[in-house]
Amino acid sequence: MLIQLKNITKEYDNIGVITKVLRGVSLDVKEGEFLAIMGPSGSGKSTLMHIIGFLDRSTDGTYLFDNENIKGLNDDELAYIRNERIGFVFQSFNLLARTTVLDNVILPLTYSKKKNHKELATKALEAVGLGNRLSFLSNQISGGQKQRVAIARALVCDPKVIFADEPTGNLDSKSGATVMNILGRLNSEGRTIILVTHDRNVAEHADRIITIKDGSIIKDEKNLNKRKSEMIEDEDL
């Protein structure tokens, strides 16, 4: 099992007022799975994702990643996992402004021990169909292309899991479809994908859909009508 969550809780203490965002979530994710976490806004799905993705810490509960309890890891070891073993795609892309596409993808490599940064980054960008945009600045490309740069950046250190937090939330339907196709293809190549969305159509790209409401999992189902990933069209300029 790649990810095992047991009774994960998350509370925010806002000047004495305690808000429970996650109320004991247990969840197993196998390697190679394509999992979608669904739920209305405020359900706690993003918080869960951030905890699984090492961006946030749970208040209580056990989290085993690759059979290792992360509670015993220090900050630098967590940074290493974020760098080498997982990749993160955000709704708002989070690219470095006024920086080239290539340098944005190189960014995680500067924190790793890997060599040949340029080749690795170029390869990752070719994989998302942006091999011809290397020297563009991140603010000179479209939203769909930005998200593909972000996927290349998540991919560049060759992680086991890619986390995508509402990856299509800021995109039009066509760019959104392209992004989902890329994620589907990455999954078919054996990579674990964990996706957060409130959009059923987006969630249906996954093998398995769990639904969260008020901080608890209320449904965990196999997706029977999974959408097929289409070939990536070479997107127009």
């Binding site: 961006l55 946030d56 290493y80 974020r82 470095l96 950046r153």
Partner: protein, 421 residues
């Protein structure tokens, strides 16, 4: 070390992608550093100028001023207070060779304002009424003609020596020797007095912030009695035979004057006898105060520069906090973030410091050139201490305000930093 250079490469890329912010930060440091260097250089230059001019007069000159003053403070006359305790009888007493053996030349001086008229031209200027030996005491050099002799001085002959600028205005084509000019006091009702021009002083330029060429010299008695209408002496200058005898001569003169003024107690002195060493001491204390004041202004310019840096850093904290969140999400450790920001602050303040030093030195040099062009004997002084202080303080500001928020942000969980508003 390899890691450090890798860091520098990342940082330079990063800074270039934020040109405006980097420029403004650097500008704050440049202004702070250049400001301090210029101000300190000006202060040191002005001090060197004033002291240099005083020392040029020679070290065997003694000045006697009316009124008591303590050792280090400026004499009362500096503040424009007229004290009448020095009289000609005192001068005569000092001239007594058996009492003051090492005094070679003793001159009495009064000064005032007059209008000098030649034909239909009138100029307002300053006159110095003194004795013939003034030329030896003050090292006066003549452009043409002669200074009046001791005899002419004593006889109160109606002769006059013009300062260079005065001669230039009255006789633009040169000459003027032997012509008659009329002096009229601005402060009393004596009529115009005719004087024959016997000399023109060489061009001196500006010394101690006074134009030395805008004045005329006349014999003491005429200036004192007929123009100013007074019976006291404003100050006395004494030249000793050698600089070594200055101290004994001061004591001799003090003894004579106490006897003249019937003073029993030193603390009751109504005069002050000073040599140039004293004058230099006083001027140094005055110019030191000036320098301290300038230093204070320099400090303010540093604070202004520092606040500029601080503002830019603080304004960008939220942007930078999100960037730190992103970098952490992508796998940066807290120490990598801290190092990046430290190197960034060092690079920025380093560039700013170097530019500030260069700019400060260039501007100080231009000012020195300008001052020399304007006739001052200005020396170009750069204080290494000022440079070190300026660079240290602005670097510190830059590093503290650049690094502190970064360290704080690096300690956050990535998601909190990413969400920072």
């Amino acid at each position: 070390m390899r890691h450090f250079f890798k860091n520098i490469k990342i940082v330079v890329k990063n800074l270039l992608s934020r040109k405006a912010r980097s420029f403004l930060t650097v500008l704050g440091i440049v202004i702070g550093v250049a400001g301090v260097i210029i101000i300190i250089s000006l202060g040191a230059g002005a001090q060197a100028l004033v002291l240099g001019q005083i020392t040029k007069l020679g070290t065997n000159i003694i000045g006697i001023l009316p009124g008591k003053s303590d050792e280090t403070g400026p004499p009362a006359a500096v503040f424009g207070v007229q004290i009448k305790t020095l009289v000609e009888a005192d001068v005569e007493a000092i001239k007594n060779k058996t009492r003051v053996p090492h005094a070679v030349d003793i001159v009495s001086v009064v000064r005032g304002n007059v209008t000098i008229t030649f034909g239909d031209q009138s100029i307002d200027t300053t006159f110095t009424a003194t004795d013939g030996s003034y030329i030896r005491v003050q090292n006066v050099e003549m452009d043409r003609g002669v200074f009046f002799s001791d005899e002419e001085g004593r006889a109160a002959a109606n002769v006059i020596i013009l300062g260079y600028d005065v001669a230039e205005q009255l006789f633009p084509n040169g000459g003027g020797l032997g012509e008659i000019v009329k002096l009229k006091s601005n402060s009393n009702s004596f009529g115009s007095i005719p004087f024959r021009i016997i000399g023109v002083q060489e061009k001196l330029g500006t010394v101690a912030f006074q134009n030395q060429d805008d004045q005329v010299f006349i014999p003491f008695k005429i200036g004192q009695r007929q123009i100013l209408g007074i019976d006291y002496v404003q100050f006395i200058r004494v030249r000793t035979d050698t600089p070594e005898n200055v101290k004994t001569t001061i004591e001799d003169i003090e003894g004579v004057l106490r006897e003249q003024h019937r003073i029993k107690n030193v603390t009751d002195d109504d005069f002050a006898v000073r040599d140039l060493a004293d004058a230099i001491k006083i001027l140094t204390s005055i110019t030191d105060a000036l320098r301290m004041f300038l230093g204070l202004m320099a400090g303010i310019s540093l604070i202004v520069g520092g606040i500029g840096i601080m503002n830019i850093m603080l304004v960008t904290v939220s942007e930078r906090t999100r960037e730190i969140g992103l970098r952490k999400a992508l796998g940066a450790t807290s120490s990598q973030i801290r190092n990046q920001f430290l190197v960034e602050a060092v690079v920025l303040t380093g560039i700013g410091g170097i530019l500030g030093i260069v700019l400060g030195i260039i501007i100080s040099y231009i000012i020195a050139l300008g001052a020399r062009y304007a006739g001052y004997d200005w020396s170009f002084v750069i204080s290494p201490l000022a440079i070190i202080l300026a660079v240290f303080v602005s670097s510190l500001t830059g590093i503290i305000f650049g690094l502190f928020p970064a360290i704080k942000a690096a300690k956050l969980d990535p998601i909190d930093a990413l969400r920072y508003e």
